[in-house]
């Protein structure tokens, strides 16, 4: 048996094969690997499910079309997430600062009021969504990338294309604002 068939190709290897004239199906694997996390990141920034779906589609289409410009110096995921953050922020800039916090998904899943989980209260979920919506897009992106998506400061700064010191400060500021606006939720 050929070992190559057992080995899982890295993102960068898939990208290289794609750049060398591979079939678009190779990109399907990259979509499969990164769709959930990319959408989750976009949703955390735009706070609207419909917009998050449209934007994640735009991000993958842009990534596919721009794959020849991807430089292997960075990880593919970093490059992809940077497109996601930039696309989300451009979208918010066009739409204006107001971020409608929706509850459509929460209602669809019937989560509110189940009482089995400390967060499973509609009111608390709304409070958290509203607190995130009140942050500026750059502070929100910083807290989404680090606190929610689990990136380190260096990786988050790389995705945002800013200095680590700037990212550190944004996180510090976002935490401070969120701790104040979510004081009741955090004390429960």
């Amino acid at each position: 048996m050929n070992d190559n068939h057992l080995r899982i190709e890295s993102d960068e290897e898939l990208v290289e094969r794609l750049r060398m004239g591979g079939q678009p199906e190779l990109f399907d694997e990259l979509i499969h690997r990164h769709l959930e996390k990319t959408r989750s990141m976009i949703y955390g920034i735009v706070l609207n499910h419909h917009d998050a779906d449209d934007l994640v589609q735009e991000v993958f289409v842009r990534a596919y079309r721009g794959i020849s410009r991807f430089r292997q110096k960075a990880k593919f995921s970093t490059w992809l997430y940077r497109i996601a953050v930039n696309t989300s922020r451009s979208f918010l800039k066009k739409r204006g600062r107001f971020v409608p916090v929706e509850n459509e998904h929460i209602e669809r899943h019937g989560i509110g009021g189940c009482g089995t989980h400390p967060l499973q209260s509609r009111e608390k979920l709304d409070q958290i969504g509203a607190a995130l919506a009140a942050l500026s897009p750059s502070l929100r992106a910083a807290i989404v990338l680090t606190a929610i998506e689990g990136h380190g400061i260096a990786a988050a700064a790389d995705i945002e294309g800013c200095a680590q010191a700037t990212m550190y400060w944004r996180i510090h500021k976002a935490r401070k604002i969120l701790k104040s606006s979510l004081k009741e939720v955090l004390e429960q």
Binding site: R97, L139, T166
Partner: protein
């Protein structure tokens, strides 16, 4: 990481988990994306503009102009302060509506917090933090280059400068704040804040004077809905908001106000 940070992270992660769509929704979305990619492969588009673009411009040459400005400003300081003192003692200070003053005023809590945040972050950056600027939309930070000629600057004072654009109807009335930026910087460092739009920026250079005043050289360029270009060298009495630029447009009076004060040195000691 503090306990409160851990709790906040946990809360936010649980919130995010509650927002995750069902598998069926994600499968549909996956199919939608693959379809969009295959449909559009004959029409390539440029990569997003932000990809691979350095975030901050290099500002080295501004540091040299700062040295020149320092010499000129030092000569002007004494004269200007005397004039200011005379105006104040004669009751001729420019009068602004109370609302404009209060919108620009600095309170003790803001000063203490700004100094504390700067010190905390400066410590985490091995004393290399140069300045921090906060606008309504963003926070930007600059650090001192590792290989800066002459090494790290001597421990000097921190200066806070707040710049606001206020407006009210031309006929008078209450002021409202349209835009603001707060900078905490080491004295005599050139601060250049990228405000995102085309050539929109805030440039500030400060020089504390005898603990009673701060010389501030500033240039503000705003584009878009609020279009302003203001370039001023002022000596501001510590913590006294001053109007540095006024103009009328579209039935409104606009005023750029600035307030500055020395916070402490980098170790938090009052000077």
């Amino acid at each position: 990481m503090k306990d409160t940070d851990i709790k906040l992270n946990d809360t936010l992660r649980r919130w995010q988990a509650e927002q995750t769509p069902e598998t069926k929704h994600m499968e549909h979305l996956n199919g939608r994306i693959r379809h969009a990619i295959r449909k559009g492969t004959r029409n390539p588009v440029p990569a997003p503009s932000g990809v691979g673009t350095p975030f901050a411009p290099f500002l080295g040459r501004l540091a040299y102009s700062a040295l020149g400005m320092a010499a000129i400003l030092t000569l002007l300081l004494v004269v200007h302060l005397r004039e200011e003192e005379e105006r104040t003692s004669n009751g001729h200070r420019p009068a602004f509506a109370d609302s404009a003053q209060s919108l620009a005023a600095l309170d003790g809590e803001v000063l203490a917090e700004a100094a504390m945040l700067f010190r905390e972050m400066n410590a985490s950056l091995a004393d290399r933090l140069k300045w921090v600027a906060e606008t309504d939309e963003d926070v930007q930070v600059a650090t001192i280059d590792q290989d800066r000629p002459g090494g790290l600057p001597e421990e000097g004072p921190l200066v806070l400068v707040r710049t606001l654009v206020l407006s009210r109807p031309s006929s008078g009335g209450r002021w409202r704040s349209d835009w603001r930026a707060q900078v905490v910087t080491r004295a005599q460092e050139m601060v250049q804040v990228d405000l995102g739009g085309d050539a929109a920026s805030l440039t500030i250079w400060t020089f504390p004077v005898n603990g009673e005043a701060v010389a501030v050289d500033s240039q503000l360029k705003l584009k878009g809905t609020l279009e302003i270009e203001s370039s001023v060298s002022e000596i501001l009495l510590s913590a006294h908001p001053a109007g540095i630029h006024t103009f009328f447009r579209d039935g409104r009076e606009y005023r750029v106000m600035q307030v500055a004060t020395v916070l402490a040195n980098q170790r938090g000691q009052a000077i």
